[in-house]
Amino acid sequence: MDPCSLTAVALARAVKARELTAVAVWEAFEARIRRFNPTLNAFLHVNPRAAAEAAALDARIAAGEDPGPLAGVPVAVKDNIVTCQMPTTCASRILEGWVSPYDATVVKKLRAAGAVIAGKTNLDEFAMGGSNENSAFGPVRNPWDLRQVPGGSSGGSAAAVAARLVPLALGSDTGGSVRQPASFCHLHGLKPTYGRVSRHGLVAFASSLDQIGPLARTADDAALLFSVLAGHDPHDATSLRPDQLAPAPAPEGPLRVGVVREFLAEGLDPRVRGIIDAALANWKAAGATLVDVSLPSARYGIAIYYLLATSEASSNLSRYDGVRYAMRAVGARNLEELYSRTRGQGFGPEVKRRILLGTYALSAGYYDAYYRKAQQVRTLIRREVSAAFEACDVLAGPTVPTPPFGLGALLGDPLSMYLSDMYAVVANLAGVPALSVPAGFTAADGVDAPPALPVGLQVMARPGHEETLFAFARRHEALFPELAGRVAPDALSEEVAR
């Protein structure tokens, strides 16, 4: 049996039952990483101790210990989540070579659950971007078509799972950075409720929006990884205790699916529209109640997201000053020059753009017009989302308005890139959980045109209702069995490597 074709659920079961060793599992995945990563550029670091950690796990299992729910399952970690055995670069020159003195809480949880940390994955610098082209260490390619982007900012994690270099990966999602790559790579990608997963050790981008979430090929795998990650952490003051928010079970019986009118309107690619319409029609035929829902203020989502996220980023990224972390510019004559020169040399163009935008929005004379106004419109969005859930269990629509776009296609046009997250940001702004599930493929058209490209469907639920999202995803898999079995062809990733 080839371990790389198994789900994480099946792998953990096989390792626990001693049908497979953790070492054999790791060796199989490592061979794929060595073979395909030169083309995909999904991994920035491969864990040099993974084989030794797998061997230690096998020894514990042989001694009769319970290895945990992720026994022997290799998990990749986005490189903005700190690890003390490997560098954490955030795909930025400013952190190149920096090694954290501690592990993020989620990394500790993975180890405690028996997972093998496979390595650190590529991303848009400091998680800022929607294509993984803003990496100081080169773009990631989409395993479904190497000419397309894998999405971003968790593009390395998504490409690694889609190409079966690992069965599971962690991403982070500030405004769609798990779900948009999930949509582009035919995966399940979850942005949990704000506060359900600890962010201790997640390099801060926009603290009122950031969450860590799983990327997986099946609904059960995503749910398994989430169950390991979720829970209160005293090291993260925004992490929720059960008395603040009790996780809810999935509702019994048919789901009431709210269809967000504004998500099927202007700006939506007709190919995506067709796939989402067909998926929802199948849900209706299978007995779900479809409810017409309106979120009128959602159209302001991108505008307020780019004011709030950049404001928070301008503050969070002030810590990279040439004093406390890896990089320091040479030749500075005084302290202020040391700060500005280090930052000027260390940050890439998108990070600079966002720091400047956020600094502008927070600066004297503009605060009320931008930051405060954006927080007021955010309140309107939260109210509308909350009201919508009175009539339905989930809110559905496309994850992204387009299929994957070509490498380089939007690089000169930041605003168009931002609009890729127009549906996704609503969940971050409202703090609710949201999951992208595979919904279909565009039609392949011709020799030189892109082959069939993945399209995702997004569902949002009330705070604490992740189980409802997983219930939706499992039923969705059962409704579309032909999608569940479809994996990115190896041949592609090998072709360009030669």
Partner: protein, 102 residues
Amino acid sequence: MIERETVLKIARLARLELSAQEVEAMQGQLGRILSYVEMIQGVDTEGVEPTAHVLDVNLTLRPDVPAETEVPPAAYLKAAPDSGYGFFKVPRIVEGGEHGSV
């Protein structure tokens, strides 16, 4: 398009050195983004509270007691570009001192 002086002013506030080319590019890019976000100015937010926390949850303070850290301060200094005597080292900021260095 925003003024060159505006870009230079916010770059100074953000302690971000920009090349002349970068300043010019930012004028156009920030200008386009700012004209897009202008759309929120028309939204009626009379009497609407700005969001302070995204969820309606009870936010309580934890007891103010010192916590143990598993990571010794020396580990953070080791990850810095320059340190010594238990401190981060920076270029001299006061003229006339004895030990300034980069």
